[in-house]
């Protein structure tokens, strides 16, 4: 990880050219050029992804894994090619370990309901961290209610760091599952997931990582991490909404019961008995979001074309620049100051409620997220109702930071 503003990997990265690959960024809002700083909520799509989805819908659509006719074969081939692309992108051991879902949330719910209900009993512990998104809290609460398992939470410090000491303090032989974010959506903190996996495995616990905020920003190698489950969404990595991935260790997936029943997940059905399909189809009941998966494949192709390491270096440079600029804005406080962060900056401005800030920035053309970021426990911890959050992506530019700082000046003007 290199947070240096003069990283070699970013050398020659042409952000203006990348920006031009995203047609939506050329539009205006409220008569001003759009400055999109809300990619952590959902990123925009490059023209190549839009075209790939359009091509699929226009020329190749049919149901997958079903027909002997040509269109079905083409659709299946595109769908499975995308699966192989996903596998390669996060270095999963095999495509049998790559399950398509509706998104990170569904991936986590799948593990909670299939693995969790099979393997947890009353008194077992599920260990989360203090900075989790609601999607990595609520499925475990439901599971705890269903099984009598108990939820534990590893604390964070005032910077938004979950230390290995804080994590270890909650880890015990009763811990059966650890679920933690790779990157915090509200604070930007990068968690030491590799070490967390090692510690958890030493106690025999299974580990799920919520990688939604990590996959688009830095290289992820699930085999190197050693995690058991890894979940992420297409729409945060320049792909379509409604499509996500669960990477699961084959041995665990094999032993897990199906989560949902339906077509595609079966081999034979009679009214007495159903034989389930092989991995990963056992977990893909019903007709999947085929165009979404095709779009995800195209999004990964785009990321690989730019180079994930170069994207990372570019975003880290923007993070350093934006952090320095924002720290000089009078009355501005950055919430989340971990030494290792993704390009996400949550902040508050004295005397201006985040919701008012969001409206004023929007009028200036600057789109940021305001609110609790689906992480109400995080807001509670910092004793604030909400923050404004600027998040960066491969297409973000220095000019976006200039526009943000200028718009903050405008907010100050309105409220002073």
């Amino acid at each position: 990880m290199n947070a240096s503003p003069r990283s070699d990997a970013a050398a020659g990265y042409d952000a203006d050219r990348v920006w031009r690959d995203f047609p939506i960024l050329r539009r205006e809002v409220h008569g001003r050029p759009l400055v999109f700083l809300d990619s952590a909520a959902s990123s925009q799509r490059p023209a190549s992804v839009v075209a790939a989805v359009d091509r699929y819908e226009t020329y190749h659509h049919a149901n997958v894994h079903r027909g002997v006719h040509l269109l079905s074969q083409e659709a299946t081939e595109l769908f499975e090619k995308a699966r192989e692309r996903v596998r390669g992108f996060v270095n999963a051991a095999s495509t049998r370990e790559v399950v398509f879902t509706r998104g990170t949330t569904e991936s986590i719910n799948l593990v909670a309901q299939s693995w969790g209900r099979t393997n947890l009993k009353a008194g077992d512990e599920i260990l989360l961290t203090a900075l989790e998104h609601h999607a990595n809290i609520v499925p475990w609460q439901l599971l705890a209610q269903q099984t009598g398992a108990v939820i534990r939470v590893a604390a964070m410090d005032r910077r938004g760091v979950v230390s290995l000491e804080a994590f270890s303090a909650q880890l015990s032989d009763r811990t059966k599952l650890v679920a933690c974010a790779h990157v915090s959506n509200a604070l930007g903190t990068v968690l030491p997931v590799r070490e967390i996996v090692t510690l958890a495995h030493a106690r025999g616990a299974v580990v799920l990582i919520d990688g939604a905020q990590c996959v688009p920003h830095q290289r992820v190698d699930v085999q190197a991490l050693g995690c058991d489950f890894y979940a992420f969404s297409a729409h945060k990595m320049y792909g379509p909404t409604g499509t996500g991935v669960l990477i699961g260790r084959e041995r665990l997936l094999e032993a897990m019961p199906p989560w949902q029943g339906g077509g595609d997940m079966i081999l034979t059905v009679s009214f007495e008995k159903t034989t389930y399909n092989v991995l990963p189809y056992k977990f893909e009941a019903g007709t999947p979001n085929i165009s979404g998966v095709v779009g995800l494949g195209a999004a990964i192709e785009y990321i690989e074309m730019l180079g994930i390491d170069r994207i990372h270096a570019h975003e880290q440079r923007l993070l350093a620049t934006a952090t320095a600029r924002l720290q000089r804005v009078p009355g501005l406080t950055i919430v989340g100051t971990a030494p290792e962060k993704a390009a996400v900056i949550s902040f508050t401005l004295d005397g201006v409620h985040p919701h008012d800030l969001g409206t004023i920035l929007d009028a200036e053309g600057v789109a940021v997220r305001t609110g609790h970021h689906c992480a109400m426990p995080v807001m509670e911890f910092f004793d604030i109702p909400a923050t404004a959050r600027a998040s960066f992506a491969c297409y973000s530019r220095d000019a976006d930071i200039d526009a943000l700082v200028a718009a903050l000046g405008k907010a100050r003007e309105v409220f002073d």
Partner: protein, 147 residues
């Protein structure tokens, strides 16, 4: 879209120095309002004599629109009877939710809230205090949500 329509001087003033801020103890009725999306929270406490609001206070945290709306509402309804409050609520509700509704003359400075209707995502900020007052008058202790 002009920010000056939303953040009018009277709204900024009530946000900076909220009137009737605090809590009545004892109160004849009270209610809590919560807007989960933006985290706005407010508590209203009311003293009633016959059917009239003889005193009212609000406390809580929120954006400028919700604080100013609560502050101006408390000023406007203090001394009013239930029928007058209901009339005011209906007028405000109509003005906030209908883009081209005429602004009644008797709204006074509350007319400043009308700027909110050009910012649809902010309407619930302006209406939180009013729904909370309704709940208090209905003697409901349930938290009110404008989501």
């Amino acid at each position: 879209m002009d920010l000056k329509d939303l953040y009018r001087e009277v709204i900024l003033d009530h946000n900076r120095s909220p009137r009737l801020f605090g809590r009545l103890d004892p109160a004849d009725t009270s209610a809590d309002g919560h807007n989960p999306l933006c985290g706005d929270r407010l508590h209203l406490s009311v003293r009633l004599a016959n059917d009239r609001i003889v005193d009212i206070r609000f406390e809580g945290k929120g954006c400028a629109i919700s604080v100013a709306s609560a502050s101006m509402m408390c000023e406007a309804v203090k001394g009013q009877d239930r029928a007058a409050v209901k009339h005011l609520f209906d007028e405000i509700h109509n003005v906030l939710t209908h883009h081209d509704a005429p602004i009644p003359d008797d709204l006074g400075k509350l007319a400043a809230l009308a700027g909110v209707r050009d910012f649809p995502v902010r309407v619930k900020c302006a209406s939180l205090a009013w729904h909370t007052l309704n709940a208090a008058l209905a003697r409901s202790a349930e938290p009110v949500k404008t989501e």
